[in-house]
Amino acid sequence: MRRQKMNFLPHDSAHKHVTGQSVYVNDMQASSEMLEGHVVYSKQAHAKIVSINISEALKVNGVDTILLAKDIPGLNQMGPVVHDEICLADKEVTFIGQAIALIAAKTKKAAREAEKKLKIDYELLDAILDLDTAIEKENRLAPPRKIECGDLEKGFSESDKILEGSLKTGGQEHWYLETQSCLAVPGEDREMMAYSSTQHPSETQAIVAEVLGIQKNEVEVEVRRMGGAFGGKETQANHVAAWSSLLANATGKPVKICLNRDEDQIMTGKRHRTLNYYKVGFDRNGKIHALDVDLNLDAGSSNDLTMAITERAMFHIDNAYYIPNLKVVGNTWKTNLPSNTAFRGFGGPQGMAVIENIIDRIARHLGKDPLEIRKLNFYNEEKENITHYGQKVENNRLQALYKQLTKTSDYSERRSQINQFNQFNRFTKRGIALTPVKFGISFTTSFLNQAGALVNIYKDGTVQVNHGGTEMGQGLYLKILQVAASELGIDPKFIKVTSTNTSKVPNTSATAASSGSDLNGMAVQNAIDKLKSRLSEVAAKVAFNGGSKPENIRFEKDIVFDANNPENNIRFPDLINLAYLNQTSLSATGYYKTPDIHYDKDKGRGKPFHYFAFGMAVTEVEVDTLTGYAKVLRTDILHDVGKSINERIDIGQIEGGFVQGMGWVTTEDLKYDANGNLLNHSPDTYKIPTIQDIPKDFRVEILKNAPNPATIKQSKAVGEPPFMLALSVWLAIKDAISAVGDHQSEPEFSLPATNEVILEAVEKIREGMERG
């Protein structure tokens, strides 16, 4: 059989996905004793808990156990970085959706019945439900952070023009198809096994151990796959795991908690909403001389990952532009909402939205095409290539992307067609925008950039690969499989990448920051290097009777041979057997840490990123200015993934990330009532893109001949960067709105550009025109 070309292999689970055979947590049945877990959460945004009465609820037929804070054997906390998140509220609740009690019952129905009979009395306290109020009341989460470069005052004084303004960006619900889920199975002694839909098994393990008051070595966490995660299961999967483990521990039976859609949307955190203020100075050509930005992020009720997210927003306030004098301050504010959390882009989208809108304003102010202003301010290759935090932008792809994409997208021709279209159409307007992405790759908390692997070879020559990364659909397992197959020189069918398990690879970092393949791929390669060096010894000395040198041994096409003397060769499985008989260890661990990255938070200086990923998009939209409906006519994307390990997987990440970003900038809108209840807690009112919303003409290409030095197979991370290409949709909509007033006035704009935002902006422009 002809080998399928490796870098075009389909997703390793594809055949199981399409036949319904892939197993997710909710499909697991531990035993007939298994109980359903149910979480009773606060219905108040901020209140004292006066009393909780569970006696009637316990009488409900089918109810096994009800747990309150006092029943937690270990620590009542589950904060991932800062220990500021209680597991079950006892004295006070600080957001709607905060867990208060846990019910284990034979059926969900019985658990819900019990919830109705469980009485909680609250004494209401003042709640802070939006950023404006949090800022006004100075309800900070932490002291502000700052990054500064150049001389701001000098920069402004040398500017011809100065613009000031503000921009709001909205939150975003992850809307992974599989809701937060965990099945906890109690073992011998104090052991607990958690099958969790988590991006971070090691942290889930730690939190479960902490709430149970046991050692980490007594907790095992396993995850085969998640039904989507997008950052939403980086820290907040811990909650469901902790709750189900508490119930499993108390009942001695397996307990499964799978939140339903509404519970998930109400209880879990979102992308951080922001409110940002800026002042920008530039010359008459549009070259930026100075930028002063205050970012304000809504943390929700606790830390979670807010500080790291804020930092990333600050790191990306420049996006692709060299700004010699820059100050960015990151403020974080506490509100009585679920703690906001990681979401694809991790602060990057918010930072980039600010600068991209600023560039757009500069262009409109100067009466130029924003494209020109972007090009003028791009980081250069030789000079003007140091970021505001002091890292040099190396292997800059911006010029190459710009050159190719403006040509293939036919930008200038279409710009003039659009101008013509707008002249002849009164109520339908078109707009176009090109936006770039430069995204820093690495956890900005430097020590997290490490990974482990365990590779076992069995006597029949088959291989099992274990690593610390988790599979959420992004194709990590497949990329790992490809790395292992090409390093071992054997067919992928002899290799199995197994479920991620804390007992096989300990102390891992989250599969996050787009780093899954970069870190785990390298760790797997490291393990295989060790095995190959042992096997080369056996081949040279035993198989080839000392007729070869170990350094000349090669592994290709299921054969192990001497590169200088191919007559000396042996089938891979035969060599394995020989190695076993010659008492050679066929198991090795691998380890990798990203070299040469560092960052000093206090000084705001360092090299936080191993490298940058680049991308660029051109989008054209059509807006019905009477209804506010925006349709994406065409999008052209050119994206830099280094040398692709798997093009199909990478294209999938680019298209998927872009469409998810489209949702953030257009229809995904979160509204709360005056008491802090989320109004959009199901897909009935929370609208992610459907198949009808994607660009009618969608052209995605990978930048060719751009290998990345010093990464696994010269590839680049691709999970997050394409998300931000969707800012081209947002700014194309703005361009179309601006056409209503013949590009003479700046539209009042925010993010997402819902039909509501669009129509109100159009109305203001029309009113302005009527007034003359």
């Binding site: 199981k16 009477l626 209804t627 999938g652 469409v659 199901s682 009112t685 198949i691 039909n755």
Partner: protein, 486 residues
């Protein structure tokens, strides 16, 4: 014919399954989703939202027409109660691939999804495969538009849909599959199940479920059980159970009453049976009746339209039901029946208030009669164009005489507690020239005529703004057609 039975029968996994709810202690309103997932080897169907908005639970129902020809409809299994599949062939994701000499042979749809990278996390994939399966059973080489329509009800958060769309287009090539080969057997088996239609009457400890098979017995049950909730597609009522976790004590399910599923057209009007699924209405309209066709194009998803009916959309009298303002504009009449006879009522008189109608105990909506008015338009403003509930919807009609407005109807949904006409604005325009000045003056009146609410969908100011703009849009779109000068 006279007897009743307390069991439900359908075909699954090639076998006829009989469910005795009482004996097996199953609720008769168990959703098909929960039933399937309770089976040992059917975990492929997924719950994503339990409200018909994501399609992860999509399954296919196959039925034989009178000639034995099979039709395949994709539906949301989270929205339908198990008795609703009585006499049908239930096809799930597990039924598509086949074992051939020990090897799993994927169905063409599945193979295309694998080859074109249509799955990432895989959770939505079973539902998507089932939607494409139903598509390729009814269309050969469909247009992009038809493929998109078949997949609007399937949310995917990973792929960005492009590869899914490609897979749908690639696999809908008309090639026969193992279902084609099996059609004769299945259709014979189904005709056995349906040969003597018997009403279903299921009584459990706390629920009664009645599924009459004829209009006559439906009217009898309705008159005997004034406390029953009447359903047809159950796409609205099911949410009481799946979202609010309420017990539905008594149901009369009209989905098996064939007399309610007709479509007649003559010179002056069309008459649509209240129980005809909206997808069938859409097919029958075949692009005619533009405003109606426009409304159905953005009405929910195909999976929901396969279940939902015009009678249901009218009967729930939701302030944001899409068809009601449009039926106002057409000045549609309803034929209402009970055991003693029938009566006609204008749709406007039928809608009484927030989810309130003129339907009296013992009555059913029988048909909807829609006059063939010209110059009727439908508009829907929603956050997302497709599979979204209206923020504001509108059905407008206009007639001119000597360039003056002699007849106008401006009906809105989403602007008040019930669908409502903008009577003041209509009065202002009546007798005036249909020109931009008058329309702009009318827009000012319209903006103040309603006091809409702010809610999860939008603020009230947006609703007012959108409502007035729709009048301008209507003017823009009709001025050329109406103007005798052109």
């Amino acid at each position: 014919m006279d007897g009743v039975r307390n069991t439900v029968r359908f075909i699954l996994d090639g076998k006829t399954v009989t469910i005795d709810f009482e004996k097996e202690m199953i609720s008769p309103t168990i959703t098909v989703l929960n039933y399937i997932r309770s089976l040992p080897k059917h975990k492929g169907v997924k719950e994503g939202c339990a409200e018909g908005d994501c399609g992860a639970c999509t399954v296919v129902l196959a039925e034989a027409d009178s000639n034995g020809k099979m039709t395949y409809r994709a539906v949301n299994s989270c929205l339908i109660f198990l008795p609703m599949i009585d006499g049908k062939h239930l096809i799930t994701i597990e039924n598509l691939a086949q074992k051939e000499s020990g090897e799993v042979k994927l169905h063409a749809v599945q193979q295309a999804m694998v080859d074109l990278n249509g799955s990432q996390c895989g959770f939505c994939t079973p539902g998507i495969v089932m939607s494409i399966f139903a598509l390729q059973k009814s269309h050969v080489n469909p247009s992009r538009e038809i493929a998109e329509d078949a997949l609007t009800g399937n949310l995917c958060r990973c792929t960005g849909y492009q590869p899914i769309l490609n897979a749908a287009l690639k696999s809908s090539n008309g090639e026969p599959d193992h279902f084609t080969k099996d059609e004769k057997n299945i259709s014979e088996e189904l005709s056995k199940l349906n040969s003597e239609p018997t009403d279903i009457l299921i009584k459990t400890k706390d629920q009664t479920y009645i599924q009459p098979k004829s209009l006559k017995s439906a009217l009898k049950y309705v008159s005997q059980n004034p406390d029953a909730i009447i359903i047809n597609g159950s796409t609205d009522v099911a949410l009481k159970q799946t979202k609010k976790f309420e017990l539905i004590p008594k149901v009369i399910d009209l989905s098996a009453v064939q007399e309610l599923k007709f479509f007649n057209e003559d010179e002056d009007q069309i008459e649509i049976g209240a129980g005809l699924p909206l997808e069938s209405v859409k097919i029958k309209l075949n692009g005619k009746f533009c405003a109606f066709a426009d409304a159905l194009k953005v009405f929910a998803s195909k999976q929901i339209r396969e279940l939902a009916t015009l009678g249901g959309n009218i009967g729930t009298a939701s302030p944001i039901g899409d068809t009601i303002p449009l039926l106002f504009a057409y000045d549609a009449k309803l034929k209402i029946v009970n055991q003693n006879g029938e009566r006609l009522i204008r749709i406007e008189d039928f809608i009484k208030g927030y989810r309130q109608t003129d339907l009296k105990a013992g009555e059913l909506i029988y048909t909807v009669m829609i006059p063939k008015h010209q110059n009727v338009k439908f508009y829907k403003v929603s956050k997302r164009k497709d599979l979204d509930i209206s923020t504001v919807s509108a059905g407008f009609r206009i007639g001119l005489n000597n360039e003056k407005v002699k007849d106008i109807c401006l009906a809105f949904g989403g602007m008040a507690a019930m669908p409502k006409r903008a009577k003041k604005t209509e009065a202002f325009l009546l007798g005036k020239a249909w020109n931009e000045n008058n329309v702009e003056a009318a827009m000012k009146i319209l903006k103040e005529e309603f006091q809409p609410l702010s809610d999860a969908r939008s603020g009230k100011e947006f609703r007012k703004l959108a409502a007035k703009n729709l009048l301008l849009k209507f003017y823009e779109e009709t001025k050329d057609e109406l103007s005798p000068a052109r």
